[in-house]
């Protein structure tokens, strides 16, 4: 095992686009880092900012929310709400002192496995550079 820090990244992927894109990346044998742990949601509009905080609390070093490009949303406007809501979540976390690269958002459609590979590699690289997340993780509380 390489002694480099292997970050732990939780990704909320929208079922119709990004999850399909990631799946296509898999079926077309595109190699991308394994640090990413995918949670399938029906739409990025469904992702509650509490999930992001909870993921970081339980050991994630980075969180990604990826969904359909504007206009492609299966539910018409789910990604639009997500864009507005999670954009402000990023500002709030930055205001409190959490590095903005810890939580990223991306548009990856079902036919963009390469973009998915780039996004994941960029994310893993940045999180590896940031090191483990040690600001409000549960396992740092001494019981």
């Amino acid at each position: 095992m390489s002694d480099k820090f292997e970050p732990n990244i939780v990704a909320f992927l929208c079922n119709w686009c990004s999850y399909a894109g990631a799946d296509l990346a898999g079926t077309s044998r595109i190699q991308y880092p394994y640090n990413i742990k995918v949670i399938r949601v029906m739409c990025t509009g469904r992702v509650n900012p509490l999930y992001i905080l909870n993921a970081l609390q339980q050991g994630a070093d980075g969180v990604l929310v990826s969904g359909c490009h504007p206009g492609d949303c299966h539910y018409m406007e789910g990604n639009m709400f997500a864009r507005r809501r999670l954009g402000l979540m990023k500002d709030l976390m930055e205001f409190v002192g959490v590095d903005p690269r810890r939580f990223q958002m991306s548009w990856v459609s079902a036919s963009e496995p390469n973009k998915w590979k780039e996004v994941v590699e960029k994310l893993v690289e940045e999180t590896r550079e940031l090191g483990p997340f040690e600001q409000f993780q549960r396992n740092m509380i001494n019981w």
Binding site: P49, M80, R83, R84, G87, V96, W107, Q135
Partner: protein, 327 residues
């Protein structure tokens, strides 16, 4: 300035209407600078109502606070209206509740009082230690007069006003069935400089500042229970199955509680300053809300609680919303 008799008569008339159940107003507290929210049911009790720079409580929370008990069989639910007195920021809270259909318009009778800013008790206590007997206070142009036991004291408004009142943009009620008091012009500079100070800190210094504050939090939930915008029946923070946050009190759970609560107020908080006033541990919660409110104002040109027909902020979007952070 609002003269008290006009206020009391309006209140007495409103509460004696047969379609009004009770009226929520402010009355003299039991000691020192305190003013307590009170619920009056008949005209005589209206005599005890006051309106002064000490009336900091946002009474909009009392529309949704009373628990709705199951109606015994055969009885009709009492759906008479709730009348309440609102300052500028309180009225915006009522409007925001209407925007979100948390309440409906014919459920409330609103008496608007234009407000020249309420005082921050800590700032006042530094100047004049709180006496035991109740103190009356009044606005006088740009000064506030305190009738202390050993004589009257005048002090400049800006020295004792609460932080959010110093930058108040809407001192006059935006919605009211009856409005009292003359027009008050809003503060010149509507931005909170302390938010800027925190933003200029480095990332680690910011976290160090907030970690210390969040570690002080004892999770008594005063901020949530006082907030007019927090009117959910069962709050996600109290859930056990799944327990999004645990009940144990440490800086990890406190951080997620305070961040989530701040986030639940994005595009909803009317900056009435109550959460900061009631926190027994003195957490600067208003800074979180004002930072987000400024982002919403600048990036999305949206201000909550101004027009009841407006769509809620988090339930609407614009095609050209900002998306530079998206890969």
């Amino acid at each position: 300035m609002i003269d008290l008799d006009k206020l009391r008569n309006t209140a007495a008339e409103t509460v004696s209407r047969d379609d009004v159940k009770h009226l929520v107003g402010w009355k003299k507290g039991t000691f020192g600078y305190r003013v307590a929210p009170c619920v009056i049911e008949n005209a005589e009790e209206a005599e005890s109502l006051v309106f002064s720079p000490l009336c900091a409580a946002n009474l909009a929370t009392y529309i949704t606070l009373p628990e709705k008990l199951p109606v015994p069989k055969g009885e009709q639910p009492d759906d008479r209206k709730t009348a309440l007195m609102v300052k500028g920021c309180d009225s915006r809270a009522v409007v925001q509740m209407l925007v979100e259909q948390g309440i409906d318009r014919d459920q409330v009778v609103i008496i608007g009082c234009s407000c020249q800013g309420v005082v921050d008790l800590q700032k006042v206590e530094e100047k004049f230690p709180e006496p035991l007997d109740t103190v009356e206070a009044e606005w006088k142009e740009d000064k506030i007069v305190f009738k202390l036991p050993d004589g009257e004291e005048e002090v400049a408004r800006d020295e004792v006003l609460a932080d959010n009142c110093l930058i108040c943009r809407y001192p006059n009620p935006v919605i009211a069935d009856v409005s009292l008091g003359s027009e008050v012009e809003p503060a010149k500079d509507g931005e909170d400089s302390s938010v800027k100070e925190i933003e200029d800190l480095s990332l680690d210094d910011r976290w160090e500042f907030w970690e210390k504050e969040f570690s002080n939090c004892i999770r008594c939930y005063s901020c949530r229970n006082v907030c007019p915008m927090c009117y959910c029946d069962d709050c996600v923070m109290d859930r056990l199955n799944p327990a999004w946050i645990y009940r144990s009190v440490n800086y990890s759970e406190n951080t997620v509680f305070n961040l989530s609560r701040a986030f639940h107020l994005v595009g909803r908080c009317v900056d009435c300053g109550e959460c900061e006033r009631v926190c027994p541990m003195g957490l600067p919660l208003g800074k979180l809300n004002r930072k987000l409110a400024r982002e919403v104002r600048e990036k999305y040109e949206y201000e909550p609680g101004l027009d009841p027909e407006e769509k809620p902020f988090q339930a609407s979007y614009r095609p050209d919303d900002q998306e530079d952070f998206i890969l």
